[in-house]
């Protein structure tokens, strides 16, 4: 019986890994591993949520879809968080779509189980609330960034947030997909990526973007990235950022 596989998997999620051993042991049996492909939809706007997902290697993007089909990203969630938090907040659905931005694994938990555990009020509850607070900061900063910054700056922020939640330096992602996330034209991303390429910060080749100069990317980004990263560190108690020195 491969219990340890399940366990190790779940522990790749920082939120779960930070739980006291006893508490983790209690809820461990509620987890079920799941695997996702790029572009897969976890749930649509308005869907009743049956599960919450704790990503271990996958990255999920929360997208709002307008009536005319235009999209804009609200937030990015990786192995530092949980998708479907509105469940314990009392809503059973959200107004956004959750889509896999980077293929990988997660563990999921039944909505009912989550609500039970949350109601117990221990470290698990504290952690979920703190993460929600961090997510709110990310969403807020997305709003600000959308208002005040250039596409190039926003691309930097987006790449950094994604890079933080990824093992590799290479993102499997087309300009077109990124343009959906940032809510701009595909050509705008191509242009911005070219500029960043000329500055030797990234390398963009057909369907992949590789981060070359992480430090330089941070400097090219607006303050929004640093604010979000700072709050994640403050609230969740450790850096998932790869910032050096």
């Amino acid at each position: 019986m491969p219990v340890s596989a399940n366990t190790n998997n779940a522990l790749r999620n920082y939120l779960l890994a930070a739980l006291p051993a006893g508490e983790f042991a209690r809820i461990e049996s509620k987890f079920e591993p799941v695997s996702f492909k790029l572009g897969e939809v976890l749930y649509e706007s308005g869907d009743k949520l049956d599960y919450v997902y704790f990503p271990t290697t996958a990255i999920i993007s929360m997208l709002y879809v307008m009536e005319n089909g235009a999209t804009a990203e609200i937030g990015i969630i990786g192995n530092d968080g949980v998708v479907g938090g509105s469940l314990f907040m009392g809503g059973d659905s959200t107004t956004s779509r959750a889509i896999i931005q980077s293929a990988g694994e997660a563990v999921r938990m039944k909505a009912k189980d989550l609500k039970c555990e949350f109601a117990l009020g221990g470290a698990f509850q504290t952690m979920l609330l703190r993460f929600t607070q961090a997510l709110m900061t990310q969403i807020s900063q997305t709003a600000v960034c959308n208002r005040l910054h250039t596409v190039e700056q926003q691309l930097c922020r987006w790449l950094l947030l994604s890079h933080d939640r990824l093992d590799s330096d290479t993102l499997v992602m087309t300009h077109d997909l990124i343009s959906n996330m940032l809510g701009v034209r595909r050509e705008g991303i191509t242009l911005a990526a070219q500029k960043l390429g000329k500055k030797k910060l990234i390398k963009s080749v057909r369907g992949t973007i590789t981060v070359i100069d992480r430090r330089g990317l941070e400097e090219a980004a607006c303050e929004c990235y640093a604010v979000v990263n700072g709050e994640y560190n403050r609230l969740l108690g450790r850096g998932i950022s790869r910032t050096f020195g």
Copy 2:
């Protein structure tokens, strides 16, 4: 001893008014009435929060202030909500400034008392969580709106959100202040307000904006307003919108 004054005051906040009588009675003594002038700052970005505020007639705007001084609004909170929710979420501060957008009253509660009551896990907790979820929708929609919609549409959304939280049809607010909220130029607001004026939706005269045709304003707005309003109704169980049949 004017206990009833205090009581009635607090009950003008829908969140508190919706509490079961017993629960309200228990926490009633923790409330302290406060009065605010336009432009007053409840707290700055990074400040440690000593109180949470339940507006009764005041309206509060959550503003993000950039390093260069530019500002953008994240959300609007009136008598349908609570300011300082990050307290029970586990952060003791936020990255935004809370500023009085419309003068009026509120009741406040000590941070410590709030945390205690929240931990009890009753209707009060449920309500705080549900409101937080509604607020997240508002913030998300602000992000989307900032990305995809014109200043005129955004002005409509903003006016509607403010109007919903106000007794009067007249907002005491200069174009300059609104421009700070929406993160655009003052001239942009003047132009947009003129257009809405020509359509007979509002009347804008030196420091005040009066809503003339509420229904028309809703039609001129992007879908963002309706989405936010819908979620508030769904999650908080009653409409604060003034939408007619």
